[in-house]
Symmetry: D2
């Protein structure tokens, strides 16, 4: 068993707090050891919560630490800290360049939320600086590549089963965004995910982009161009169109349809990968229960572990096992005798009083 | 930060090995410390694999241990081991009663795969023994209760939004089973899950059961009654019908439709909870990206942690961040100028040679 | 071109009036010539409406007829009328036996709404009487056999592609029924359709039936058993379970899932025939536009015919054709020149003033 | 009852023959009286087939007519024929202008397959000529407006329930087209339908069009640009993107997603109108059986009429009615007695020998 990776997180707004909880509670092989945020009180509250026991009780706080998670005021100090093995950057975009450079300097692996930096030039400087270090330390938070649906779509397209991919039709919709969200942010904060999706799925660079602005919805502030319709042209001749609509009112919806020479495949419909191929539309029926219920087993065991650490259980009891046995015994009898069979059980009160 | 829960697993066949990998690799706050199986070689191989580092390289094996996970020949010795905090029982059903009694004796929390025991009487004895201990130590592996779809179905039914639940229509299909699978096993090993589902969703006991045997599929051995059609009658008057078909050929399929006074809800169609209510069928659109992509973030961070522990990254690179910045910059310009804009980027070779 | 079949309809309640409009307006090769109903005023109103022109204006009423459709008070006189070639019986079930016998006597083809008659014995007498006539004159209104989804399901099952059919899971739900609807009527008026569906799909007789009564929904009157759960056992060993729920509140829903040796097929989901087969679920993509839009062409031409009979059109105009030409001309130019092209059109006022 | 409209059809290739069969067999209130085609033999064969009885037997051919449908060599003579009330033009596009002018001259209603004419100028001349006649005689064959799904989509959008419509995402795919199909034909023959759909749904003119040509599929001939991606800009600021892909290999697929201020609605998925609205996706459950089974009733009665004209029936027999009665009687008994009940029926041989 290797040592847990000690992680520090810079920025504990919505994304950073989400990552902090993830590392502290759900990620195996890692340990949250430090957080940094200009809002020190927010960082301290989070540290107290996550440094605590799994049941949410406040953690022991030996040696001045808040339950095992330290609050470090200066993000660069966090990066340099000898007890931090790796860093997650969830600070505002304008702070990324300096923090990334510090990570490179200290040779620390870093997971940086998008954008890498605020403009093309500074991004290029980061690329060049990492290249000088000589090894990959920076991962950018384009997390769609890790979504199981996107991953299966990529796998299907790369398999060649549908022929060469010709077009993408993508949709990116938010329920609403803050009134401060301006037209350019729709490109930089939302469309940017679709930029990465297109580059990744096609394995190709985008060479030309057109962003259309239809007449905006009346449900946004004056001057905000929402929705937008972007068209990407790839170096190899493929294309993608993308609707970005950040005040859709309905909810959050991200869809991607890949159109290839011999069929199409769509994700984001809530039905995994939906294909159209050879006169047929539809999806896959899994081969066995591990595919269908794998996540249920993970949740079962995680909740059992959490409860057992408190000396409890959190799931079906021995009584449930007993009741099931009684029903199945009657069921076998019914099957053998071809008639309804009453289930014989003691009453709960006979056992539990 | 609490100490990790030290877990021993008894039985490392398909289910046990699956649990072992789960505890070692995916469960936070737990540590696999011991395995036991009559097939000692199989146990040793598993211990070597899972005791290793996260990248799959063989783990260090200090003090005679296989990479941190010990092989304990005697399951009762594993249960009694002072360095085992909690036990997972994945041994054959006939061994459960004795192993459960030993867990109760040592006061150890235990997650026991179904069945609790092989017959109603021994199950009742286990219930009584646990009652004497005075606290819940035994959890039975009816893991469907933890499946997110079942959990949301239960929540919907309990909310009362659809009125009282009147009927369940359930389907349980396996692709194929081993030729040794006999008619009674369809009841005891497969239908048993539906027994728990009906009891749990209705919050009620089953009082009568009929198991029908239609003319079997020709794709099973002589004398095997497959499919079967069971009808449950609940104490409160509700009912459930269940098809169990363990040689369906197509794949694995588990469905549950709850019919209530003001609508119905179905899971297992691959579209989460599908409701019929007030002249409308359909499902939910999530409110935000954390619902849609929460799992993607977990996978992203877990893979980054695993890679960082090896000094690598496993995801989008700084170059991907740079390319996205370049496209978005051109996109903003296109939006502002109302025309296609070429994307300006250096070539990879200018940076990487 | 053969002469139109002259049809008389007995009973013009909901079903009969529906058939009357169907024959008068949508059926080719037939002509509604007479209606009969104890409620003479209702019959006269219907005759006046349907005897009129296609645009709904009251029809000419030469020789004492209401617009070409006569009202005949005595249903047996209608059956015997020399100008009635064929009869549709939509009277209450208790009247069927006598009316059917009259049709047989006069050798008139008859389409009889279900039930054939009110009890087994009188139904058998009708069968025997028709057998004596020596040719088939009576068709019973089990119209599901003509539903395109059921027809395709039957075709699929009969093709043998899925192997032998083992089980049906059927659902029959009404939004609500009149408070006078009693438990037995659920069997005789609703379940009866499922009886025919099972017999027809299996091509086999039902030899045993169980009708279960779960605790009823609270949204029905005292003593009404709704929903009901029926189990059919076929002579050949296959089985069917059927939920009938006539106060479902949501709407009307009829579903049928056939489970066969190598897959299953479901209709009634609103997606035509949905199959599960060989690791895949889904449906068919049609080969060409005639499958997809055949009905649209029928509607287009029917509406055009109806409008043309009034000297009008009812659809896209010449202006729509002109506008499409202008856009396509610009589109071809855009394709050839690789740039946006403005559409050149005169304004409507230049033409129409 | 009004007289049937007497219809002549010009051009009996695929579309014209389809219309001829439609008018002769499925349209109520119309009668096919004449066909014209340069391929006289083809026209004669069709006339012989469709002039026959409904059972397909050759029709009587009094006074030198082929079963009631005349073959008229000169299309202009057909238009001028006193016994032709209305005309369907399904000739090649280049012939439309002259034939339309003739229809206007004779004051005959005409249903003209798209395109109206081959170019913008001649289309405008037709519009002007009809305007001079002073009443609408020309309907263009944009039949999607009559498709029930499109009609419901239009109705939903016009209701204002979703707010103003902002964007359309359309897809038009054919399985394959003839090798002679050139890039411009994709615009003029396929995209033209989408042009009309956009104009009709928005109730607005298209002012600018861009047709993009991604790198073509390898499954077309040299130089054919397939698929194409068109972007329409409407006068009012709304936009539409359309994929046209006429060699999709999979089958025929036409989809339209309308994105509005408060939700979206999609047709062409094979599930009628699928909406996304207020946190929910899905479709409608019909209120009653007339919506679900209306078409089944039409088919039932049409087939019964066709069979009755031959002295036969074509559907469930009296025996089917008898068997249903016997099963329901047993069902009522089972419901009352709470147990399985055997179905009592005579055997078929007792009746039929």
């Amino acid at each position: 068993m290797t040592q847990d990776l000690r992680i520090g997180i810079i920025g504990v707004g919505m994304m950073g707090a989400d990552h902090a909880e993830r590392v502290a509670r759900r990620i195996s092989g890692a340990r949250l050891v430090a957080v940094s945020d200009p809002d020190t009180a927010r960082a301290a509250t989070l540290a107290a919560t996550l440094g605590g026991a799994l049941d949410g009780s406040p953690g022991a706080a030996p040696d001045g630490r808040l339950g095992g998670v330290r609050v470090v005021e200066d993000p660069l100090a966090l990066i340099g800290d000898a007890e931090v093995d790796a860093v997650i950057i969830a600070s505002p975009g304008f702070a990324h360049a300096e923090q990334l450079m510090a990570c490179l300097e200290h040779g620390k692996p870093v997971l940086c939320e998008k954008p890498l930096t605020m403009d093309t030039e500074s991004s290029l400087r980061v690329v060049e600086a990492e290249h000088k270090v000589g090894r990959s330390l920076i991962q950018v938070g384009f997390m769609r590549r890790f979504d199981p649906e996107y991953a299966r779509l990529k796998q299907l397209l790369d398999s060649g089963e549908l022929g060469r991919t010709l077009l993408l039709h993508n949709v990116h919709r938010n329920k609403t965004v803050a009134p401060t969200f301006r037209s350019e942010m729709i490109v930089r904060d939302s469309l940017v995910h679709e930029v990465d999706v297109a580059r990744w799925l096609f394995g190709d660079e985008i060479t030309r982009i057109t962003v259309h602005a239809p007449k905006p919805t009346s449900l946004v502030g004056e001057g905000v161009l929402d929705p937008q319709l972007a068209v990407f042209e790839m170096a190899g001749g493929a294309m993608a169109d993308v609707e970005v609509f950040v005040n859709f009112q309905v909810g959050y919806e991200v869809r991607c349809e890949a159109v290839a020479e011999r069929g199409s495949a769509t994700i984001g419909l809530g039905v995994d990968v939906l294909t159209r191929q050879a006169g047929h539309w539809g999806g896959a029926v899994p081969d066995d229960f591990r595919v269908r219920f794998g996540l249920a087993y993970d949740i079962e065991v995680q909740r059992w572990v959490n409860a057992a650490a408190r000396g409890e259980i959190d799931g079906p009891t021995a009584w449930d096992g007993y009741a099931a046995a009684a029903v199945c015994t009657a069921g076998v009898q019914s099957l053998q005798e071809g008639r309804p069979v009453a289930v014989e059980m003691v009453s709960r009160s006979e056992v539990f009083g």
